[in-house]
């Protein structure tokens, strides 16, 4: 409940004059060299791969990811069954398909390169109800997506969602022109057509971008009379590029245990729900993974068996009238001489000619900032295979 008392309360609400009361802060904490093992992943009892990611914690100012390489990772059943995971040499350990027995409990067993052994608690195979639908509605100008699901067995109760969102976007300006540059100084030497027919380059006009969810999305039906899920999973800010043309959300749903729910909620509280007046105190983390070699060693992570259910939806811009996405691009006209180009256009990309001489020479042309002309700078021009 406390997350509702957001920063807005303290800061914005009463700040008449709204000097910004949130400032970037550097606590100047020195290197601590704490290298705790971090285990992320789940044992997929449904169709699909099981991927476990191992890494180490780093210092606060240390932005590199400390991958844990060379470990031996196995899924063990309490019936002594064993499924070794393959080291992908990128911190990920995977197996394309686990065939788990519903009557057996499984755990993760890790042996790191330094010889320490870690195990998770045993967990039984869990069933995840299917996603019924994903609906969207306009809220506060933006688009709010809700997941709808129900569990006739009333067994799931705790859910986690992850998503992958993809959207199509276009460059603000067509481009038929190209700078040629001096290979040594990189200075512009000329403006030329991209092809002999003076066509615009469509390969840099239409692009797609994909992002994975970066926040922990949790839900519970424990306070409801029936296991019916109707919860917000994703919000798109008003006028966002995401809904400029076509947007797709691929939602993955997992039924999780109460313990996993509490663990994820702690991480969420510690790292996502801060900055209000009524912040909860950061709390210590303890998952279900323990170090056998040194029982006092703290391990961050939670591994249990779950099933993945997915659903993909597409949303067209027309479903949100007056969305008014504005890429915020401007183009300027530059005379086609090297001085003008060097002065005004060196950091821009040329779009199309604006004035031509009677002989077809380019007297002046339009130019704009690179992402406004070349969409591949922000996304990929490879159309995803699921795209309509």
């Amino acid at each position: 409940m406390k997350q509702y008392f957001r920063t807005v309360l303290g800061c914005a609400t009463l700040m008449l004059l709204l000097a910004d009361c949130k400032q970037v802060y550097d606590p100047r904490i020195g290197a601590k060299n704490i290298r705790l093992l971090v285990v992320e992943g789940f044992l997929n009892s449904g169709q699909g791969a099981t991927v476990v990611r191992l890494s180490r914690t780093g210092d606060l100012k240390d932005t590199t990811i400390h991958l844990e390489l060379g470990a031996q990772v196995n899924v063990e059943g309490d019936d002594n069954s064993n499924f070794p995971l393959v080291d992908n040499a990128n911190g990920e350990y995977s197996i394309p398909q686990l065939n788990l027995n519903n009557n057996v409990k499984y755990r993760l067993h890790i042996k790191t390169i330094d010889g320490k052994e870690y195990v998770s608690d045993y967990s039984s195979v869990k069933y995840t109800p299917a996603i019924d639908s994903i609906t969207s509605q306009r809220e506060n100008g933006g688009a709010q997506f809700y997941v709808n699901a129900h569990d006739p067995q009333i067994a799931a109760k705790y859910y986690q969602w992850k998503y992958e969102e993809t959207w199509e976007f276009h460059s603000a300006y067509y481009s038929s022109l190209l700078y040629t540059r001096d290979s040594r100084t990189n200075s512009v030497t000329d403006v030329v057509y991209r092809d002999a027919f003076h066509n615009v380059d469509t390969t840099i006009y239409k692009c797609w971008k994909t992002l994975n969810s970066s926040s922990i999305i949790l839900g519970s039906t424990e306070k409801l009379t029936s296991d019916v899920v109707y919860l917000p999973v994703q919000y798109i800010e008003p006028h966002s590029e995401k809904l400029g043309i076509l947007y797709s959300l691929n939602l993955r749903q997992y039924a999780i245990s109460h313990e996993a729910y509490l663990f994820l909620q702690k991480i969420k509280k510690n790292t996502e729900q801060l900055g209000s007046i009524f912040d909860a105190q950061p709390s210590e983390l303890s998952g279900n993974i323990h170090c056998l070699t040194d029982p006092n060693e703290i391990v961050i992570g939670f591994a249990e068996v779950s099933q993945e259910q997915t659903k993909r939806i597409f949303v067209y811009n027309s479903q949100f009238p007056d969305w008014n996405y504005d890429p915020g691009c401007v183009r300027i006209e530059i005379d086609n001489n090297l001085d003008s180009i060097a002065k005004y256009g060196a950091d821009l990309l040329p779009a199309t000619p604006s004035r031509l001489s009677s002989l077809g020479g380019i007297i002046a042309f339009y130019a704009s900032t690179p992402p406004c002309v070349d969409c591949t700078l922000k996304g990929t021009n490879q159309k995803p295979d699921f795209w309509p």
């Binding site: 409940m1 303290g10 004059l17 705790l36 606060l60 009379t225």
Partner: protein, 926 residues
């Protein structure tokens, strides 16, 4: 002039009755007199009573009498008939009544008129100036003659050696409001003296004979009363306002009370001081004023609640005219819930807590409302940027025996929210509070007081979740004076606090969450002034609690929310106490008391039992035990000791020491650093022990420059047991087994507080410095989780260095400036020491709890008070307050936090008031 006449009348009445003894039954008068001339009136009176009247008809030809009385004594009837006139009456021993204009007739001569010193041991009587008291005294000198008049206390007789007790009320001459804190002492022996209580009552035991009483109160003219004490008796004293303050030289014992009182760690602020302290938006605010006192802290600028000497926010007993207020704030803690227009003063007990109070570990904040004007209707109103206030007061009956004061305050803060970015445009916030206080003096021995308080907050922050919380309090107090030495205050009250959170946005999950506390209490407190050496206080009190710890219900027909109600909790907390203030010598006094409290947790209830020797967790729960209605489930009890002594080395230098122990049976559970509107309260039960605390303190007090500069040093050391902290990730709302989520902790706090205070003169104010530490420890492995490896760790409000300065400079009678400068160490905070990647984003790894601190706080506030003209006779008086909060615009940190944003960790510092906030307030009195 008319006031002095009335004063005379009242005093004269007193004089008559005291010299003539009790009222006679045959002198009672009833009737409905309308527009009677004096002749008609006297005829009626002579018909009903055995009295004979003598008067000069010519003097009374302009008088018309309109009066309705029933069974009133003649004296009272005459007093009512002549109220606000310059007619007087006198009654002699032979039932003759003399009526006269402008003058008074004395029907007997003052004792000592003939210099009969042989009757009286005290030879000073012969020096008494009685010459002014005469049959022909002129009206223009009546007021002055009162100072010189000799009042006889007790039935006139030969004076025996020994002590007698004189008691009575000190009141304002104009409004008849009682004046508390007025010092009364013998001019010839300042060691014999007392201070009036909250009802203006005093009781003074002194040797029989002739004395001069000095009566002094801040803002009132100093007066003297010559008294001749024959036996126990009563005297009421009326004080005039000191309207023009010339160069005053007042040496009052109120001003030396910091040196002379036995108590340690008591801070008293009256409303005029509170109003000079600049606050945010210029609203005079009790909680902000408290925070500038040494030893009082809060976690941040916008937090509800305060921490006294290392105690938690729930360890303060907040009393408003005797009622317990659970949430003393509005608008998330930005404003105090008490309307400054109806507050008279606040008193904070940090160390020596009187034995009549208990139930909280750290402090008692006693807020007293003012009493209404007993003679005229009056009021005040104020307009500020966020709230407006209205206050009216006046008599209820015409005989000035009763009065009321009604204060109301409401906000129009919605416009603030309108300034927010568009996405918050649907936010709403509002609050109001209403106070009603009435007093009724039934007779000389019985008074009745009634207080009703209501506060309400409602807000909605555009997230479709509506919050509401409310305090409702009601209290009746009856003061009965058995005799001069013994009086009793009986009170009964009902206190209520609730909150309600509901959300309708998501129809499937629409819910309504409610929480409330009900408490009914009765108290009986006795004061027994045995003699000049002993003052005994004793009494008992009892509180019945009924908590509804949470109900969660569906809202709307589509909601699938499952109704979840945590069963109500009941308990009875009772205490008996007895204490004595023993003045061994004028220089050495001790105050010792014992309070014995007991707490019974009552059925009906289902209590979980846990396996012994294991942490209380879901997994160790072995069963439930059912208890029926009214059955006593668990009893906790224990003694609480209160002890203090004072030794005066000189008249302006004393040392004091004290020891206190307290117990607390109701706990607030919160896992946020500041009080949030969703925090719940929990009673002690078989699984949750009461909190216990004790404090030892020592102080030195020295005054300079005729007591206008007070200095003090106080040192304390405090221990707390069974303070409730929570486990990591605890869920406190709607938790059926809350004992599995909380842990008992130990705490210790120590510190030294230095204070220099200038109480008089053009420049007044104080400078205080506090060094204090508050440390907690959680090392019980049975609690399931040890924090910071079982070592002591600083609490959230552990701010070792704290300096505050409050200054008020009176440039003229109409213009003054005030400033408030505050510095404190930043509060402890838990900071991340590492990062890792999880669930698609960078996450942080936290250090030990409260291992780091946020940057220090420094703030300067400034305000100007501009008063309208000071003519006494005008319809309205008005004043302006103009100022600025956080004058330097420093972005004082409230918290530092790290958050994942788009997959990356970012550190932020959050300030609540990160710029200068100017304000204007307009006040009007009528």
């Amino acid at each position: 002039m008319r006031y002095s006449n009335l004063l005379l009348g009242v005093l004269f009445l007193f004089f008559c009755s005291s010299s003539k003894g009790q009222e006679r039954k045959d002198s009672l008068v009833s009737g409905d007199f309308k527009g009677l001339t004096i002749e008609q009136f006297i005829l009626q009176l002579e018909a009903q009573t055995p009295f004979h009247f003598y008067y000069d008809q010519k003097q009374f030809d302009s008088l018309q009498i309109t009066l309705s009385v029933k069974g009133q004594p003649l004296q009272k009837v005459l007093e009512l008939a002549f109220v606000n006139t310059n007619f007087h009456y006198s009654i002699d021993q032979h039932d003759n009544v003399f009526l006269i204009k402008d003058k008074m007739i004395r029907t007997d001569l003052p004792a000592g008129f003939f210099g009969s010193s042989r009757n009286i041991n005290d030879s000073a009587i012969t020096n008494t100036n009685t010459a002014d008291i005469g049959l022909t005294s002129d009206s223009s000198t009546i007021s002055a003659s009162l100072e010189n008049k000799l009042y006889e206390i007790g039935t006139k007789s030969q004076i025996r050696t020994g002590n007698s007790t004189v008691a009575g009320y000190v009141r304002d001459d104009k409004t008849h409001e009682p004046l508390p804190g007025v010092s009364i002492y013998l001019e010839e022996n300042p060691g014999i003296g007392t201070v009036t209580d909250q009802f203006g009552f005093f009781s003074l035991t002194l040797p029989r004979g002739l004395h001069t009483l000095n009566i002094q109160s801040r803002g009132k003219r100093d007066v003297r009363r010559h008294i001749l004490v024959y036996a126990n008796g009563k005297i009421d004293i009326y004080l005039h306002d000191q309207i023009i303050s010339l160069r005053e030289v007042i040496i009052s014992s109120r001003k030396t009370s910091n040196v002379r009182s036995v108590q340690l760690g008591v801070e008293k602020l009256n409303i005029s001081t509170i109003k000079t302290i600049p606050t945010i938006f210029g609203e005079a605010d009790i909680s902000r004023a408290l925070l500038v006192l040494p030893g009082v802290k809060s976690v941040g600028e916008a937090s509800t609640g305060f921490n006294v000497r290392g105690g938690a926010t729930d360890q303060n007993l907040i009393l408003f005219n005797g009622t317990t207020v659970y949430n003393p704030s509005h608008f998330f803690g930005f404003f105090s819930a008490f309307n400054p227009e109806v507050i008279k003063d606040v008193e904070l007990y940090k160390s020596s807590i009187p034995a009549k109070y208990g139930g909280r570990l750290s402090s008692v904040l006693d807020i007293t409302s003012k009493e209404g004007n007993k003679k005229n209707y009056a009021g005040s109103a104020g307009i500020g940027p966020v709230t407006s206030r209205l206050n009216v007061e006046g008599p209820i009956f015409k005989d000035s025996s009763s009065s009321f004061v009604l204060g109301a305050r409401a906000t129009y803060a919605d416009w603030l929210l309108k300034l927010l970015p568009k996405q918050y445009e649907r936010s709403k916030a509002s609050f109001y509070d209403v106070v009603l206080h009435t007093t009724h003096e039934m007779n000389k021995k019985n008074s009745l007081y009634l207080t009703a308080y209501l506060s309400n907050d409602h807000f909605n922050l555009n997230n479709d979740t509506a919050y509401e919380y409310s305090n409702r309090n009601f209290c009746v107090q009856w003061k009965h004076t058995f005799n001069n030495k013994l009086n009793n205050l009986v009170s009964g009250g009902y206190d209520f606090y609730k909150y309600d959170i509901n959300s309708e946005a998501n129809k499937i999950n629409a819910y309504d969450l409610q929480f409330n506390i009900n408490q009914a209490s009765v108290k009986s407190d006795f004061n027994y002034y045995i003699n000049a050496k002993h003052t005994v206080q004793f009494g008992l009190n009892s509180i019945f609690y009924k908590l509804n710890p949470g109900s969660y219900r569906p809202l709307g027909s589509e909601s699938l929310v499952k109704t979840d109600i945590i069963p109500s909790e009941q308990a009875l907390e009772s205490a008996l106490y007895c204490g004595d203030r023993y003045n061994l010598t004028p220089d050495f006094s001790i105050d010792y008391a014992l309070r014995y409290s007991f707490f019974q947790y009552l059925g009906p209830q289902t209590v979980s039992t846990y396996a012994p020797g294991l942490p209380k967790e879901e997994s160790s729960r072995i069963g439930n035990k059912e208890y029926g209605r009214g059955s006593v489930i668990k009893t906790y009890s224990g003694p609480e000791y209160r002890f203090a002594f004072r030794y005066s080395l000189t008249s302006d230098f004393s040392i004091k020491a004290g020891f206190n122990s307290l117990r607390q049976y109701i706990h607030m559970l919160s896992n946020t650093t500041a009080i949030a509107p969703t925090d719940i309260w929990k009673l002690s039960d078989p699984n949750i022990k009461p909190q216990e605390g004790n404090q030892i303190s020592f102080g030195m007090y020295k005054n300079f420059k005729s007591n206008t500069i007070e200095t003090s040093v106080e040192v304390y050391y405090k221990r707390m047991e069974h303070y409730l902290d929570y486990k990591s990730g605890a869920i406190l709302v709607l938790n059926h087994n809350i004992e599995t989520d909380v842990i008992n902790t130990k705490g210790k706090a120590y510190g030294v507080e230095l204070l220099i205070k200038k109480t008089a003169g053009k420049l007044n104010g104080w400078l205080s410095y506090t060094y204090s530490r508050t440390l907690l420890k959680m090392d019980d492995p049975l609690a399931g989780e040890v924090i910071n490896h079982g070592q002591y760790y600083p609490s959230n409000y552990d701010k070792p260095h704290d300096v505050s300065f409050v200054g008020n400079l009176k440039l003229s009678h109409r213009f003054s400036i005030s400033t408030n400068i505050a510095y404190s160490t930043g509060r402890p905070i838990t900071l991340p020491v590492g990062r890792y990647t999880y669930a698609g984003s960078q996450r942080v790894l936290y250090s030990d709890r409260n291992a780091y601190r946020i940057p220090d706080n420094f703030r300067v506030d400034f305000s100007m008070n501009i008063e309208g003209n000071h003519k006494v006779q005008q319809k309205t008086h008005n004043s302006w307050t103009i100022g600025a909060y956080n004058l330097t615009g420093r972005k004082n940190p409230y918290s530092v936090y790290f958050i994942s944003e788009n997959g990356l960790i970012k550190g932020y510092k959050l300030s609540i008031f990160g710029s200068i906030i100017p304000f204007v307030n307009f006040n009007i009195r009528f």
